[in-house]
Symmetry: C2
Subunit: 360 residues, 2 copies
């Protein structure tokens, strides 16, 4: 941490764009992907930030990611869009899909996009935030590599299958962005590296027995969040993605973690014309309710999903983003313009309101 | 339990229909509502079964439930249906909405219904099962009375906000029907009546502090399932219902529990044309994946959401439904044709796969 630097979002975006352009990405596609990674940094989620550039770069080098790919958008029905990402960047396909869905929304009231043959979408929050920006509500689901065990079962048969939900509200949209694992794979590897026992409930060993041994957990699987109910939801989210996109299920999902295998993951994006369905603009009413929830806090305000990321983003846009030295070294120009960080000692946010590092 | 009776589903439906007709419901509406309550009994969820007849009967008597109401269905856009239940039975409005959405699906690929001014939908599983019956996938969300506290907050500001998810699969559709509370309100009242301490994590007291005292919990609130993540999802589900229907939020939701207050709850139903979006029929592929998940079980097969209810329903259709004597007394004809139960000692199913008694 001592070697961390603080860099402005604009500079990070420019450098990350250059990194991808140098590896064959056209400027426009590189900028969309780079901006999305920087958005994760701004929200305090470096696991989904610029550190991901290396996998993207290696994928391009091996020819399993086509950085110049333009997604092919096909309306298969009035409100149903099928998107072939043609092996390109996830954010390029996802933002193109969202723009197309939003253009259709006055006519249809709801619209869905089914994405295949595209790469990691990264954090889901920025997508549902864009959906909310014009008063629509939205859901985003992605399938991810098998890391989570079935409830009562052994083996990493379920993805961490994240969900993003955005609902427009006065005083700050309600933005959920969470995985359906109890904890991220990265955190278990971190405990193993530090020789620490895991808290109970995080993982099982290879035989499916609960374990607090991080090494055994790394050979086993992450537990679903929320026991049987969280398992049911995670399984359903992943299965829904497969069933609506024709992509792979569970252990057959690829495209997010490794640098070698062609992508087999899928994504689903649903956008609702909230005011049309509700018969009026609900933003003020929902905002008042969320304020009442905030005010219910026993020790400080209760957190609404989206609040903490919004606060972090504001601070980081203003003050710059703290970047690990090894990540900065990836993208730094010959004469780096970064400054040494102030002693702000920013901790990784805890998983307290469903906003967290999607472990994929 | 010694006074329980075993009655056939057909007879239960007939008697429950008679009960509602005698209180002013037209035959068709009475039968739809009665059939839905019996479907809960068949799945082993008596809390959502015929015991609910008394609240419906009292609501009719007080004029807050209009049993002859025909829901008004208005397409506000090509794929968006707004449903005014006109104060009638929930299942009448919900099945009418589902039929209308399905009729539209070939044209639109996805369709959504937003329901207001309607009563309790009851169990959500039968709706998503109907959606799956022709190969579509679906989501159903309802708002319910405030019973659950915010994460880190005090007071029953969140509904138990159930979710139903149905995804068609070979070998048995994946059917989720669960609330976002850690436990049902009924179970806490049952512990209080029996003077038993609650397991940790079920509830907080009126000040928002965790408690195992059932009496203090009854004055406080149920905890969300799955900690911060379950809180985030439950809050989002309830907020999405309000934002897409224009109905009430949190503590202002009414219509399910009491017998006096006009309904202010809402429901959202989304139906997806799975094969069109996926570019093919995914039922076999999803079924094979779910079979692999079943086979991963450490002590017997891992359960897929929907499996247990399907098994229970089959047995109860064949052998009849065990009905508590006081419930049977509500609807029994002068000469009851029920038989004494065999010594099958069927237990209430545990909350192990997200199929459970929605506590509302």
């Amino acid at each position: 941490m001592d070697d961390d630097l603080v860099v402005s979002a604009a500079e990070l975006t420019e450098r990350a764009t250059d990194y991808l352009v140098a590896r064959g990405a056209p400027l426009r596609e590189a900028r969309v992907q780079a901006t999305h990674l920087v958005e994760a940094e701004l929200r305090g989620h470096p696991s989904h930030g610029l550190r991901r550039l290396t996998v993207l770069g290696e994928r391009i080098a091996r020819g399993v990611l086509e950085p110049a790919a333009e997604p092919e958008l096909t309306w298969v029905a009035q409100a149903a869009l099928r998107v072939d990402g043609r092996g390109g960047f996830g954010p390029v396909a996802a933002y193109a899909a969202i723009d197309a869905l939003r253009d259709r929304l006055d006519e249809t009231g709801v619209a869905v996009a089914s994405l295949h043959n595209t790469h990691h979408l990264g954090m889901l929050a920025p997508y549902v935030e864009r959906i909310c920006a014009e008063g629509a509500a939205g859901l985003v689901l992605s399938s991810t590599e098998g890391l989570v065990h079935p409830w009562g079962g052994a083996g990493a048969l379920l993805g961490t299958n994240p969900i993003g939900i955005g609902i427009p509200a006065a005083g700050g949209d309600l933005i959920v962005d969470m995985s359906s694992g109890a904890v991220s794979a990265g955190k278990i590897l971190d405990y193993r590296a530090r020789g620490l026992p895991l808290p109970e409930g995080w993982a099982v060993d290879a035989a499916g027995e609960p374990t607090t041994d991080a090494a055994a957990a790394a050979e086993g699987a992450i537990s679903p969040f929320g026991g049987a109910k969280g398992y049911a939801l995670g399984l359903a989210f992943g299965s829904l993605v497969g069933a609506l996109t024709g992509t792979a299920y569970g252990p057959a999902v690829r495209g997010t973690l490794d640098a070698e295998t062609p992508t087999t993951k899928g994504d689903v994006i649903v956008v609702f014309h909230a005011a049309l369905l509700a018969g009026g603009d609900e933003r003020a009413a929902l905002g008042a309710y969320l304020d009442a929830v905030r005010a219910s806090g026993v020790r400080g305000p209760a957190t609404i999903p989206g609040d903490r990321a919004r606060t972090a983003r504001g601070a980081h846009v203003r003050d710059g983003v703290r970047i690990a030295a090894d990540v900065w070294a990836l993208i730094a120009p010959a004469t780096a313009s970064a400054t040494e960080p102030e002693a702000e000692a920013e901790a990784e946010p805890e998983n307290e309101t469903g906003e967290e590092d999607v472990p994929s």
